[in-house]
């Protein structure tokens, strides 16, 4: 069984967020971590390795320093790391990112692809499902539990106050929630091995069946109007009214904000 986990190096929000003049994130200037949902996805894959001897490959797209997140994954127990890095891929939105990752995945053998639900630097939750579309394989998103039965996966998909149990034949793609599990730590020996491990590095030329027009900033339909760090909310407004006045007041406010 072969599992590919797509992971992303994201800014550690504890360290503050910095931006480029064009509104994109200045990733080179920030402290980084492995995206929490992706880490849960990696842990799920490593449990399949423990249980069934699955081979786990981690795939990421990013700056050359994104290699660090692959080494962290190898130090946790992943077998191989693939870094897709190229200047022409920079500034990608979810569309261009999923095209890039799909172009890399077409070169790889997999029974199961796991991505995180969403990355904490964008919160779109689009890349995983988009990859599945590009590769024409089923997707089950928001996985809160995962097990293998024969050539299928059975997933509990989180849904509001309940969950759905879905079964899909492999190959397929799962998007993982951080709640899926408690990721393991790296081991000291794993770290030493990971630092010696050879990372496969691919550029634009290594991507299969992808048009240039779908890559990088130019291939990104999303235009960032403005980006900012979290803005502290004000204290808000407190009013004390009787119930009938309250209804009118709230409805008035919702109309004012164009909510209704």
């Amino acid at each position: 069984m072969k599992v590919v986990v797509c992971i992303k190096q994201v800014p550690d929000t504890k360290g503050g967020v910095k931006f480029n003049p064009d509104g994109t994130l200045d990733r080179a200037a920030m402290m980084t971590i492995m995206n929490p949902d992706d880490k849960a996805g990696l842990e799920a894959a490593l449990r399949l390795k423990d249980q069934y001897g699955a081979e786990v490959t981690v795939l990421t797209m990013g700056l050359p320093k994104a290699e660090d997140v692959l080494r962290e994954a190898i130090a946790m127990g992943a077998d191989k790391g693939v870094l897709v890095t190229d200047r022409v891929l920079g500034g990608a939105d979810t569309w261009a990112t999923s095209q890039t990752l799909a172009g890399a995945l077409r070169n790889m053998d997999y029974d199961l692809i796991i991505t995180g639900r969403q990355a904490i630097d964008g919160d779109t939750a689009q890349v995983g499902p988009q990859i599945s579309e590009h590769l024409n394989i089923p997707v089950i998103s928001y996985a809160q539990s995962l097990k293998i039965e024969g050539d299928s996966v059975i997933v509990e998909r989180q849904y509001d106050d309940r969950y759905h149990v879905l079964k899909a034949k492999m190959p397929c793609l799962i998007t993982a929630l951080a709640e899926l599990n408690e990721p393991r730590y790296m081991t000291p020996g794993g770290i030493f091995d990971a630092c010696k491990a050879e990372i496969t590095v691919w550029g634009r030329a290594d991507l299969k069946d992808v048009e240039d027009s779908n890559l990088g900033l130019k291939g990104s339909p999303t235009q960032i109007a403005k980006a900012s760090d979290k803005v502290r909310k004000g204290a808000g407004e407190k009013v004390t009214l009787d119930p009938s006045e309250s209804v009118d007041y709230i409805v008035g406010k919702l109309k004012e904000k164009h909510v209704i």
């Binding site: 393991r184 730590y185 790296m186 000291p188 020996g189 770290i191 030493f192």
Partner: protein, 383 residues
């Protein structure tokens, strides 16, 4: 000369830091208050390979270098001195002598489960009349058939009742050295549960209160003769060699305690206000912090240098003694100043610096007092 850490050491530090913050720090005050051995934390450390960091992979360890091990003890001790010494005593005082002096059979039988963390290790040298004077040993081992019969007791043994495997020293005879008759000391590997091996009183200590410090009692305790570690009469050499390594571990513990106290004091002085401004804005505080940070940095360099010496040199007792002497005295000084800068609050158990000051003191005493370190250093200078 390059002081930049290699990638693997940076990653290892971030691992130990994360583990210490998430798994150890939340329990540190409780461990101190209740004096209960943090068994759950030890199990988690075992699972994550922290109990065999410098042991080669073929013996169940992680195959890392002494610097990585030192960083582990340092980061754990930053938040909990008890947890730091549990790892240090297990690794430096039990795994290391078996790794260095053990036969292949002893390594397979004892080192592998120790390094995997399936078993915990301890070291029994100190006796009521044999502290700094290791020659004062009274515990005896007499060969009877295929077994040595041990009689005597050991005190102040770290990981005492919680360990499974003990490296124990005993007198096996008298030999002549430079015209004088002296005790011949040998080392033995003793398993918990061996008939005749029991535990005496638990020490009530000032600091590192969660570490299990016990008296070991041997009454006609029969140990198979194949459990002798090294050769007969090599015990003193094994003990001194082991303590050279152990001192690096304790130096790392002292360093971690000092760093922890400094971190908390910086944070506190930026919050605490007196006379309308933070105490960090007072020049006295700034100068105190500057001195503390400089000494902590110097201690770190000595500790890391000793760890590197252990990795690359046959003898490293001098570097180990300097690292332990300096780091322990810095730990005592920095934690005392930390309490002072916290004022009355620092004297209460609500603030961690109170515990850290109590934990720091032992680093000037165990595994060779500061006076012994000065003897080791000066004898190397004057030989």
């Amino acid at each position: 000369m390059d002081f930049t850490l290699r990638k693997e050491h940076e990653m290892a530090r971030s691992l130990f830091k994360e583990f210490a913050e998430k798994e150890v720090k939340p329990l540190a005050q409780e461990v101190d208050e209740t004096e209960e051995f943090p068994r759950g934390t030890v199990e988690k450390m075992a699972k994550n390979g922290f109990l065999g960091i410098p042991v080669p992979k073929e013996y169940g360890g992680q195959g890392c270098d002494p610097l990585t091990y030192v960083m582990c003890v340092e980061e754990l001790s930053k938040v909990c001195g008890t947890t730091g010494v549990i790892v240090s005593a297990h690794t430096s005082l039990c795994c290391d002598p078996i790794m260095t002096f053990g036969t292949e059979e002893q390594k397979q039988k004892y080192l592998v489960p120790l390094a995997k963390g399936e078993k915990l290790g301890a070291f029994g040298l100190t006796e009521p009349g044999a502290g700094t004077d290791a020659q004062g040993q009274q515990t005896k081992a007499v060969l009877d058939g295929d077994e040595y019969v041990l009689n005597g007791s050991k005190i102040f043994i770290t990981n005492g009742k919680e360990a499974d495997v003990y490296v124990v020293f005993a007198v096996t005879g008298m030999i002549e050295k430079r015209g004088k008759m002296i005790k011949e000391i040998s080392a033995f590997i003793v398993e918990k549960g061996t008939p005749g091996f029991s535990f005496g009183t638990k020490e009530k200590k000032m600091g590192i209160r969660g570490s299990s410090t016990y008296e070991l009692i041997f009454t006609d305790c029969r140990v198979p003769k194949e459990n002798m570690l090294g050769k007969q009469g090599q015990g003193f050499k094994i003990a001194m060699h082991t303590l050279d390594g152990g001192r690096i571990g304790i130096a790392a513990q002292a360093l971690g305690i000092a760093e922890g106290a400094l971190e908390r004091t910086i944070a506190y002085t930026k919050e605490r206000k007196q006379f309308g401004r933070t105490i960090a804005a007072q020049q006295n505080t700034q100068f105190q912090l500057a001195d503390m940070a400089t000494k902590v940095q110097a201690a770190q360099l000595l500790v890391y240098k000793a760890a590197m010496a252990k990795a690359t040199q046959k003898e490293y007792g001098f570097e180990a003694a300097q690292a332990k002497l300096y780091a322990a005295e810095v730990a005592m000084e920095v934690t005392t100043k930390a309490v002072q800068l916290h004022g009355g609050y620092g004297y209460t158990r609500e603030y961690e610096v109170e515990r850290m000051m109590r934990d720091a003191k032992i680093t000037e005493i165990y595994e060779g007092t500061s006076e012994v370190q000065r003897m080791v250093i000066s004898s190397a200078l004057l030989k």
